[in-house]
Amino acid sequence: MGLYFPLQDTEQDTLNIQHPNDLRIHSLETFGTHDGPGVRMVIFVQGCQFRCLYCQNVDTLDVNGGTMVSIDELVTRAINQKDYFGHKGGVTVSGGEPLLQRSKLITFFKKLHENGINTCLDSNGRLLDNDVKELLHHTDLILLDVKHIDDDWHHKLCGVSNKPTLKVAEYCESVNQKMWLRYVLVPGWNDQPEFVERWARQFTGYKNVDRVEILPYHQLGMHKWRMMGLPYQLTDVTTPSSEIKERVLHTFQKYFADVRLK
C-alpha cells in the first residue's frame, strides 16, 4: 500500500556517487523562512525513498527526475544571497531526501562553510553511514523529521521503517549535533495520545534538541499527486482541529523547552 513505485535502491546508490560535482535537484527557493532559522536559500533535492502518504512534494521522489546543477553554481548563488541571510539565515538542503546525495553534500557544505555560510539539513534520516557522519560534521543544524514513533505505523504511513531515523537521531545526540525535531501531525495517523507521548519521551533527554516543530498536515500537495497520476489516499483526512493541535502541543511542552506549532 502506498508504494506507487519501487524504492530504487540501486539507483539511489548511483545518485550518491555519479557526477560528484553536480547535485540532482528539484527546485530552488531563494526566500525560505520555514526550513531553519532566518532567511534561507532552500535547495529541494530530487529523490526520496520514503513513501509518505501525505507527501507534499511527491514530484521530488523519483531519483531519476529533476535536473543536475553544479555544486559550484549553487555555491555562487548562495554567496550572492549571503547579504540577505542576516545573523541567523543560510542554506538549507531539503527535498526529497538530502542524505541520498550525502557525499556530494559534504563537498557543498564544506564550500559553504569556507564562505561563512550557515548550513542546515532537512532530513527524514533515511540512513547513517560514514559519509552521513562526515556530512553532519559540516552541518550547523539538522531538522529531523520523525514521522511516527511506532515502527508498524511508520511503515504504514511512510512505507519504510523508522529504525534508521532513530539511529540518526541517536548519533546526533552522541556527537551533540544541534537538532530541531519535526512532527507532521496527521489526524488518525500519528495523533494517537499514547504514540505522541512515546515520541516525546524518546527524545526528551536529548541535550542537542533546541526546538520541536509541529507541522499540521495540509492538503496543499494533493494536486501534485493528481498531476502525476498517483492515487492520493488521504483525501478524507482533514487538517488537524485546534483541539488536536493544542493537545499535541501540550504533550510536547511537558518534555521540551521550545515547541512551535507552525
Binding site: T30, F31, T33, H34, G38, R77, D83, Y84, R260
Partner: protein
C-alpha cells in the same frame, strides 16, 4: 509668537549667517537609537478631528472619489478664506479651500483639463474663469504651440507618454522648513538681496531670473496674508514645536493651493520638527502625548490634500495620489543617524490614524540605521503595507547630499539646493517593436522613425536586432529631449512654481528626470532572441502581431547574469543617448525605471513582444520582473533588480515587492527579523528602491468585491501607496495578478 517662554537657545552655526536649515539640523539634532516604547496613542482632540475627517472621506468615496469642487475661483496662495475640519480641536490648521476635500481649480497648467475634470462631475467652470483664458495663456496651450511634428507623432503613438504637457509637472520640493526657521521677513530680505545681485549686462537668463525672484517675493508676501487669515503671524521665526510645524505647513499649503503638480512632495521635515519638540519637552511645556498629537494632526492634514483631476489622469496615476512624500531616517555624512524620536512619531501615525497612502512615507535605509528603528519600520510595513524604502547609502554617496528628500516616488532631491524637472517616460518596448517594423508603429503602421531597414525573414538575429533597437533608442532619446525642452520652458513661463521656489536657493541646479518603462520586457525579449529561437508573425501589412518562441531562455528575475546584464546594458545605453542632447536651463539628465500605474496603460497600447507577452498585456511595474517569470523565489528576484546600476538611473529604480505574511515567517518576531534581513541584503547589494507589501491575495480579492469594507486598505504600487479601493477595477486586478512571493 511666545516670547515669555524660557526656551534654551539653539546651537549656532552657518545657519545663522545663511539660509541653511540643513546646518541647523546638523547642529541641533538629537539622534535616537532607542525603541518604540515611548510612543503614545491618539489624543482625544486627534480622535475628534480624525472622526470628522473620516466622515468627509467617506462622503468622498461614496461620491465617486470627489466630495466637491469649487468652480468659481482660480486657486492661488491667498484664494479662499480659512478652512477647518473641527476648529476647536485642531492644533495644526489650514486647508486648501474653505471645506475639507473640496477641490480647487488651478487652470494655468491647462484650462482644458480643468474643464474636463469639472464637466465629468456634471458641473461647469464659471464663465468668468473660462473668459479669463480667452485672454490669458496656459502651459498646455503654449507647449502645443511649440511642439513639432516628430514630438506629436511619438506622443500620439504612445512612444512618449504621460508627458506633463497638459498638467502641471510638480516634483519641485520647497524647503518648507525655512519658513519655521527664519520667518517670512528674513526670507523676503534674502530674496531681495539675490534680486539686487542680478545686475550688470543683461542676458535672457538674468531677465528671467529677476522676474522669477520678484514672483517668489510676492509669493512670500502672499503666505503672510494667507497665514494671517488663520490668525497666525509668520513674519518671524517659529519658537515652539507647534509653531515650527504650523509655519512649515503654511509654506507647504501655499504650494498646494497654487500648484497641482502630479507630485507635490514635502521633503524631510520630521527630524527638523524633532529639534523643536525635544526642546519643548525638555522645557516641560508639552507632553509626549501632545508631541504625538501635533504630528498626528499635521499628518492628517497631509492626508487630506486634494487636486482636481480628470478621469484620463487616472490611467497614468491611478488612485488619486498626491505624493506628499516625506523622507524619514538616513545617515549624515559624519556617521550619525538622522533618526530621531519624531521619525518614530511619524510612523506611529499609521497606527494612530490607521493605514493610509499619504503622506508617502519613505524610509531612507542605511545599513547603519539604528537596529531598533529598522525593526520598527519592518513591523510597520508588516502591519500596514504603507512604507517604501530607498537606499540612503547609495544616494548619499553617489549624489552627494545628506540633506535630501524624495520627490514623487523615488527621486532624490537635495532640499532647497537643487530641483528636478519631471520628464514622465518613454515606452521602450515600443521602441523595440519600431526597430522590428522598419520604424513603423506596430498597430497602425504609422512611420515614426526613418532609416530602419526591414529585418530578414525567419529567426531573429540577436546582433541585428540589438543594433536596430539601439538606433531606435537613440532616435527616441533625441525626440524625447526636444519634448522636455519645450515642456519645461513653457511651464516656467506660464505656471512657475513661485511658492516652492521662494523657499529654495536662487537659481538652483536642475535635474531633468527622464524615464523608461518596460525594462523587464526588453530584457526578456532580447534574452529570448539571444538564447531561444524567435520568429516574428506578421500581418498583411508586414507588421508584427506575435512572436513564435522555440526553446527556453533565461528570464529577468532569477538572478541570472545572462539576462540581467541585458537590462543593465540597455539602461546604460539609453541614459548615454539622453545625455547627448541639449536641455532647458542646462539641466542634468537623469533616468528612472518607474511606471507609476501606467504599466497597465502601456501594456494596453503595446503590441505583442518577443518575450512571449501578448498584445495588450500589462507591463510589469517599474523595474519589476514580469509576473510569474521570477520562479526561484523573492531573493533571486530582488538580486536581479539590484544589478541595475543607480549610476545609470539616478532618478530611481522602482521595485514593488509583495509577500504574504506567512511566507515572511511564522511569528511576528520572525517576520520582522526576516524583513530587516531582506532589506539589509537588498540594499547591501546597491539596490535603490523597494515598496513592501505584506498582504494576503484573498484580502485583495475580498476588497475588490466589497470595497465598502476596506476604506483604509493601503497597498504600495510603483513608488507610492494607494487606497486599494480607489484604484480602477482594471488596476485592482493587475495588482492581484502580480507575483506574490508565497513560498511555504
Amino acid at each position: 509668537m511666545n516670547t515669555d517662554l524660557s526656551l534654551r537657545a539653539f546651537k549656532k552655526g552657518a545657519w545663522n549667517k545663511n539660509i541653511d536649515p540643513a546646518d541647523f539640523v546638523k547642529n541641533n539634532i538629537t539622534p535616537y537609537e532607542g525603541g518604540a516604547s515611548f510612543l503614545q496613542g491618539p489624543s482625544k482632540k486627534t480622535l475628534s478631528v480624525w472622526g470628522a475627517a473620516k466622515v468627509a472621506l467617506n462622503e468622498e468615496r461614496i461620491n465617486n472619489g470627489c466630495r466637491s469642487i469649487n468652480t468659481e475661483v482660480i486657486s492661488n496662495i491667498t484664494a479662499f478664506g480659512p478652512g477647518y475640519i473641527k476648529k476647536d480641536d485642531e492644533v495644526i490648521v489650514g486647508l486648501q479651500t474653505e471645506l475639507p476635500l473640496m477641490r480647487a481649480m488651478k487652470p494655468f497648467g491647462g484650462i482644458k483639463l480643468v474643464q474636463a475634470a469639472v464637466e465629468e462631475r456634471g458641473l461647469t467652470v464659471s464663465e468668468r474663469v473660462v473668459d479669463i483664458f480667452n485672454y490669458a495663456r496656459n502651459h498646455n496651450q503654449a507647449v502645443f504651440d511649440a511642439y513639432d511634428s516628430e514630438i506629436r507623432a511619438y506622443r500620439s503613438n504612445h512612444v512618449l507618454t504621460g508627458l506633463p504637457d497638459n498638467y502641471a509637472r510638480g516634483r519641485i520640493i520647497g524647503d518648507f522648513r525655512r519658513m519655521a526657521l527664519y520667518g517670512a521677513n528674513v526670507l523676503i530680505e534674502a530674496k531681495k538681496f539675490d534680486y539686487a545681485n542680478v545686475s550688470g549686462e543683461l542676458t535672457e537668463h538674468k531677465v528671467r531670473l529677476r522676474e522669477e525672484l520678484s514672483s517668489q517675493i510676492n509669493a512670500l508676501k502672499d503666505m503672510i496674508v494667507m497665514a494671517k487669515g488663520y490668525g497666525i503671524d509668520i513674519t518671524g521665526p517659529a519658537e515652539t514645536a507647534q509653531e515650527a510645524i504650523q509655519w512649515t505647513y503654511i509654506a507647504y499649503l501655499a504650494a498646494i493651493k497654487e500648484q497641482d503638480g502630479a507630485a507635490m512632495s514635502l521633503g524631510n521635515v520630521s527630524s527638523f520638527f524633532d529639534i523643536y519638540i525635544e526642546r519643548d519637552l525638555e522645557a516641560g511645556i508639552i507632553t509626549e502625548e501632545e508631541a504625538q498629537e501635533m504630528v498626528d494632526q499635521f499628518v492628517m492634514k497631509l492626508r487630506l490634500v486634494r487636486h482636481l483631476r480628470p478621469g484620463t489622469y487616472d490611467e497614468i496615476f491611478g488612485g488619486d495620489p498626491t505624493w506628499v512624500t516625506e523622507s524619514i531616517g538616513g545617515q549624515f555624512h559624519d556617521g550619525r543617524t538622522k533618526v530621531t524620536k519624531t521619525s518614530f512619531r511619524f510612523l506611529q501615525t499609521l497606527y494612530n490614524l490607521g493605514p493610509a497612502p499619504e503622506p508617502n512615507l519613505t524610509v531612507l535605509w542605511s545599513n547603519d540605521l539604528p537596529e531598533e528603528f529598522k525593526s520598527f519600520c519592518a513591523q510597520v510595513s508588516i502591519d500596514t503595507s504603507s512604507l517604501q524604502y530607498e537606499n540612503d547609502d547609495v544616494m548619499r554617496c553617489v549624489r552627494g547630499s545628506d540633506d535630501y528628500g524624495i520627490a514623487c516616488c523615488v527621486s532624490y532631491q537635495p532640499i532647497g539646493k537643487r530641483i528636478q524637472h519631471f520628464g514622465a517616460r518613454a515606452n521602450i518596448p515600443k521602441a523595440l517593436l519600431l526597430s522590428l517594423n522598419e520604424g513603423r508603429e506596430e498597430e497602425k503602421g504609422t512611420q515614426i522613425i526613418n532609416g530602419i531597414p526591414a529585418v530578414p525573414e525567419g529567426v531573429l538575429s540577436y546582433d541585428l536586432v540589438l543594433q536596430q533597437f539601439k538606433y531606435a533608442l537613440s532616435e527616441l532619446a533625441r525626440v524625447y529631449a526636444k519634448s522636455m525642452f519645450v515642456i519645461h520652458y513653457m511651464h516656467d513661463k506660464y505656471y512657475y512654481e513661485r511658492a516652492q521656489m521662494a523657499v529654495i536657493d536662487t537659481d538652483p541646479g536642475i535635474d531633468i528626470a527622464y524615464g523608461a518603462a518596460g525594462i523587464s520586457i526588453i530584457a526578456d525579449s532580447l534574452s529570448a532572441i539571444k538564447y531561444a529561437r524567435v520568429t516574428p508573425v506578421r500581418n498583411s501589412k508586414g507588421l508584427t502581431t506575435d512572436f513564435n518562441i522555440e526553446g527556453d531562455f533565461p528570464k529577468y528575475g532569477n538572478d541570472d547574469d545572462r539576462v540581467d546584464n541585458i537590462a543593465k546594458e540597455i539602461t546604460s545605453f539609453f541614459i548615454g543617448e539622453l545625455r547627448k542632447h541639449q536641455t532647458y536651463k542646462n539641466a542634468t539628465p537623469t533616468l528612472s525605471l518607474l511606471t507609476i500605474t501606467s504599466n497597465v496603460m502601456y501594456g494596453k497600447n503595446t503590441g505583442a513582444t518577443p518575450d512571449g507577452r501578448k498584445a495588450g498585456e500589462s507591463f510589469a511595474p517599474g523595474a519589476n520582473p514580469m509576473h510569474g517569470r521570477d520562479c526561484t523565489g523573492a531573493i533571486a528576484s530582488l538580486n536581479s533588480v539590484s544589478k541595475l546600476s543607480y549610476e545609470d538611473a539616478q532618478d530611481g529604480i522602482s521595485n514593488t515587492f509583495s509577500m504574504i505574511p506567512k511566507s515572511l515567517g511564522s511569528t511576528k518576531e520572525e517576520q520582522v527579523e526576516n524583513l530587516v534581513a531582506t532589506l539589509n541584503g537588498y540594499f547591501g547589494h546597491g539596490a535603490h528602491h523597494l515598496n513592501v507589501n505584506v498582504l494576503k491575495r484573498e484580502t485583495l480579492m475580498d476588497a475588490y468585491n466589497h470595497p465598502e469594507q476596506y476604506p483604509q486598505l493601503t497597498i504600495r504600487v510603483s513608488g507610492y501607496a494607494v487606497n486599494f479601493v480607489r484604484l480602477s477595477k482594471a488596476h485592482q486586478l493587475e495588482v492581484i495578478a502580480r507575483t506574490f512571493h508565497e513560498s511555504m
